[in-house]
Amino acid sequence: MKDPLLTLLQSKARYSDAELAETLNLSADEVATRIGAREKDGTILGYQAVVDEEKAGEAGVTAFIEVTVTPERDGGFDRLAMRIARFDQVVSCYLASGGYDLLVVVSGKDLREVASFVSQKLSTLDGILSTATHFRLKAYKENGFIFETEELEGRLPVSP
């Protein structure tokens, strides 16, 4: 079973150690130690807010790029995928089954910036066979969060 500590942090990374301790029936020190260990062994990679960029007023541009590559004798897709992933412009990078090999999520301040990253950096790498770029138009859900608040109305204050 998955560590409940991780489940809680994934639902809300801003829980304090004391709050987590309360929920999990541990001491705050134990919680801090466990989190520290998870950070150290790379289970927890980081913490970030899930932001509605449009509301934040700095929407920028995000693109999903399907990339096909020539796999290499040693390491398959890994070397090339990691090389792509290390660019700051790349938000996420996955190996996928199906009609292409890598799905690369790229963000930039405008269309031109993303386009130039694709044409200058990405497609010029040795081993890249093709790219297909899809610009994001609207977000409905991100990392488990729906882009509107769902309110549960109508629960009576007292019921049998």
Partner: protein, 388 residues
């Protein structure tokens, strides 16, 4: 017009619900944190809601068979086998109802004649005694106590049995105490029911919501009990589907047939949209249910810990989503305690006496509310205790 003589004596004789009284106190107050609800705080999982929407889109808006959709009854039969380890024939031994509430009414009306005695354990769900009375039965209350973690003791039950006893009603895990039955005590109760030829109505609505790491045992699964048990269950609590109003009864065919006679004229059938949703819940709802249960489990542990820390004696109930702390040491009646707590700190919890006199001196606190609210509620309660 004077209506006093126009209302049936049977209905007029039913006292006002203690829950209703308290509801009226709470209503209209702002900023109340309510631990007074009797339902989950989650919206129904989306895939279940979506199945209901899809069924509407497809134009499935007709009556169903009086017993309910065959596909759903088959799925219930499978589920009852997996979960309760009891076999029920989908064609003749399962009836889909409008919540367990309707099923309780049907079962009582199908089983008892005027004057027959029905034994039930208290504190208990508020509808039991009124439902018995409306079926012209005589309710016989067997109290459970904190000493036994509110489980029913076989010896207490035996003392209440008379030649007029026809039915025993069980509800474990229990609303309002969260109590569960130890297996050996349940076996003794089964033996008494067989010895005295008593039919059991077992309300299993909270049976998935157990936190004591034990597999839930229904009395229907004990040897010799399937033939004399009406097992009632539904979707409200485990799948967070209270508003769908969907439950079911499993029992030998002659008992289901008798209940169906009433259901077909009073209700015709349960709503088809809710039946479509229930089918999805049984087929694909386990993951969502387990997630919700885990969340209740955390909140139970937290609530019990906090209450005990502030000096209120509260045991960790094995199931449901209620705790039932003992407030007797404060010297206040449960009604006074709940009213003062509401007035001073805007925290609503239901006085235990709303669930029968055996609940006096206790408070039902439902922890199916957000963790953040629960924390505030506990702090306010602590402050309230300090002010006494």
């Amino acid at each position: 017009m004077d209506y006093t003589g126009k209302i049936s004596r049977q209905v007029a004789g039913i006292p006002r619900s203690g829950i209703r009284d308290f509801f009226e106190l709470v209503q209209g107050r702002d900023d109340v944190i309510s631990l007074g609800v009797g339902e989950p705080d989650f919206a129904t999982p989306w895939h279940i809601r979506e199945a209901a929407i899809y069924s509407l889109e497809k134009g499935h808006t007709s009556y169903t068979s009086n017993l309910g959709l065959m596909s759903l009854r088959k799925e219930i039969s499978r589920y009852a086998n997996d979960f309760f380890h009891v076999d029920y024939d989908a064609a003749s031994e399962i009836l889909i109802t409008v919540g367990v509430s309707e099923a309780i009414d049907l079962a009582l009306r199908a089983l008892i004649d005027p004057g027959d005695e029905v034994i039930y354990h208290t504190p208990c769900y508020v509808s039991y005694l009124p439902s018995i009375s409306l079926a012209y039965g005589v309710g016989v209350d067997v109290p459970t106590t904190k000493r036994d973690d509110f489980a029913l003791k076989a010896e207490m039950l035996e003392a209440a049995i008379t030649p007029k006893t026809r039915v025993l009603m069980l509800n474990f895990p229990t609303n309002p105490t969260g109590a569960v039955m130890p297996d050996d005590e349940l076996k003794k109760i089964a033996a008494l029911c067989i010895k005295h030829d008593i039919i059991v109505i077992t309300d299993e609505i909270y049976s998935e919501l157990r936190y004591d790491e034990k597999e839930h045992l229904s009395i229907a699964a004990l040897p010799g009990m399937r033939e004399r048990t009406i097992l009632l269950h539904g979707f409200s609590k485990a799948y967070s589907m209270t508003g769908f109003r969907l439950g079911y009864a499993c029992a030998p065919a002659p008992l289901i047939e008798a209940m169906m006679k009433i259901h077909q004229y009073a209700m015709l059938c349960a709503p088809i949209t809710s039946q479509a949703a229930a089918l999805e819940a049984l087929q694909n709802g386990d993951a969502a249910m387990n997630e919700m249960r885990e969340s209740y489990h955390h909140r139970r542990d937290f609530t019990v810990k906090r209450l005990n820390e502030m000096g209120i004696d509260c045991h960790a109930p094995g199931g449901a989503f209620y705790v039932f702390p003992d407030i007797r040491p404060t010297g206040l009646s449960s009604k006074d305690f709940a009213t003062k707590l509401l007035e001073a700190e805007n925290v609503a919890a239901v006085p235990g006496d709303a669930f029968g006199t055996a609940g006096e001196g206790f408070l039902r606190c439902c922890y199916a509310t957000s963790f953040d609210e629960l924390k505030i509620a506990m702090s306010r309660m602590e402050r309230f205790l300090g002010s006494l």
